[in-house]
């Protein structure tokens, strides 16, 4: 077993999310906060505004003319889209790296994060959680943040983890816990605590593989889980952990996902992937 304090200390090596981005994150997660409040936060931060306008004016969005203010950007793209851009932009620096231990090359965890966030958003609309779409988008984007730190420890103990997973039927996250003493969900939740994420966001990060039975009753956590396994099944940057997580058919039944629905969501994700690839280049 590894020195857990040594692992936790490494949270400090991550690039913290800018204060303004975490304020926007918190506001956007609250269905009662007004869109105008969020727009105000953006306008009052010149660096964020400049970055946002650069992204909005990229060829990806194909706007008919150059936008020069947050107000204009919101008018063309809608505030939901703007919030998504701000959230995505605020975490991209950490995620855009390669990941030792999980066998992911540069940008692969980022591709997984952004794709799963878009799948999760689509699921939120399908399965009655549209009012929490920003929370769900953010949670899917950040769910594997613990992997950024745990990766090197996974690399160090990979043989042991691999034996537990492929000879003894452990899921990858249970094997991490068994060998290292901590898994990427727990470590991710600690990052969330340190960075003052909302309780709910921390909860989803901590339980996104649904190992805890009570988490399977929670709609938002279930949707993030579902988005994650869909990406795994599609091989969207599946690394050394591959598809080695548990499947819970009862949660699919509970929210009424049929076999045909599952295949339909995978087809839709495949159709959207070219757009996502272009989007990834913006951050």
């Amino acid at each position: 077993m590894t020195n857990l304090n040594g692992i936790v200390e490494q949270i400090n090596l991550l690039e913290p999310i800018p204060a303004i981005a975490s304020q926007i994150m918190t506001k956007s997660e609250d269905p009662d906060s007004s869109l105008a409040e969020i727009a105000d936060l953006i306008v009052n931060d010149p660096a964020l505004t400049a970055n946002l306008l650069k992204i909005c004016n990229s060829a990806y969005f194909a706007l008919p003319r150059k936008v020069e203010s947050v107000k204009e950007a919101v008018a063309w793209l809608g505030l939901d889209q703007i919030v998504e851009i701000v959230l995505t932009n605020s975490v991209s620096n950490n995620f855009n790296k390669g990941l030792e231990g999980y066998g992911l090359g540069e940008g692969e965890l980022w591709r997984h994060a952004v794709t799963s966030a878009h799948v999760a958003k689509s699921l939120a609309h399908r399965y009655g959680a549209a009012q929490n779409k920003h929370l769900i988008y953010t949670a899917a984007l950040l769910k594997d943040i613990g992997k950024l730190i745990l990766g090197r420890f996974v690399a160090f103990s990979f043989e042991k983890i691999n034996i537990l997973v492929h000879s003894q039927g452990y899921s990858f996250n249970d094997a991490e816990k068994n060998v290292i003493g901590m898994n990427h969900e727990e470590l991710g939740a600690m990052v969330g605590e340190k960075w003052s994420f909302s309780e709910k966001l921390i909860y989803i990060i901590r339980h996104h593989h649904l190992t805890d039975e009570s988490a399977r009753q929670d709609l938002e956590t279930t949707l993030i889980y579902l988005a994650d396994i869909i990406c795994m099944m599609m091989g969207i940057c599946a690394g050394t952990d591959g598809l080695s997580y548990r499947f819970y058919s009862d949660v699919l039944k509970r929210i009424n996902v049929s076999e045909k629905d599952l295949q339909g969501i995978i087809a839709e994700t495949s159709e959207n992937q070219k757009k996502i690839e272009h989007l990834l280049k913006l951050f």
Binding site: M234, G235, L243, S244, L252, K260, D261, G264, I266, S270
Partner: protein, 172 residues
């Protein structure tokens, strides 16, 4: 899609075949590769006589089950429409059914993903049904389990290479 099927001008190249895509080549220095396959299946086919080969990377078994997706637009997303179109394209380039060497990798599943939700298993079954219709046999298969795989085809040698994390590379 047609534009991507040939890359005859390349001097030496590796061409990615993303999911829901198919590529064919008769360029002897080209390697076609389907990276990071989960429940979908990467399928290489090579005809040593005509020198033509290709890779299909499909992710779903049945084109009639994908709600709003038009199989005519995305035939290579599905086993049924994809394999048919793949073989047809190979035959048009001079390949013959009796010469074909078929290698497949994929069809993995999430742990405990059984029954109707086991899309990896369904993909494998659909593939075998489709190949049976054309009387084409599988030369080598790396399928099932919970690992993701990468499969490539060297057009010149006709050799397929399967890579799986934690395992030795398999050349067939």
């Amino acid at each position: 899609m047609e534009n991507n099927q040939r890359n005859a001008n390349a001097v030496s190249s590796m061409t990615a075949v993303n999911f829901s895509e198919m590529k064919i080549s008769s360029n002897p220095v080209e390697t076609l590769v389907a990276f990071s396959i989960g429940s979908g299946i990467g399928m290489t086919i090579h005809d040593p006589v005509s020198g033509v080969g290709g890779v299909l990377n499909f992710i779903l078994p049945d084109s009639t089950k994908a709600n709003e997706t038009n199989p005519a637009k995305s035939p290579f997303m599905f086993a049924d429409t994809g394999i048919k179109a793949f073989l047809k394209a190979l035959f048009e380039q001079g390949a013959k059914a009796e010469n074909l060497k078929v290698v497949i990798a994929g069809g993995a599943h999430i742990m405990d993903q059984t029954g109707v939700f086991n899309i990896g298993q369904k993909n494998l079954e659909a593939l075998k049904t489709s190949l049976g219709d054309f009387d084409v046999k599988i030369h080598h298969e790396a399928s099932g389990g919970t690992k993701s795989r990468t499969i490539s085809l060297e057009i010149g040698s006709g050799r397929s290479i399967i890579k799986t994390f934690g395992e030795e590379e398999k050349k067939v």
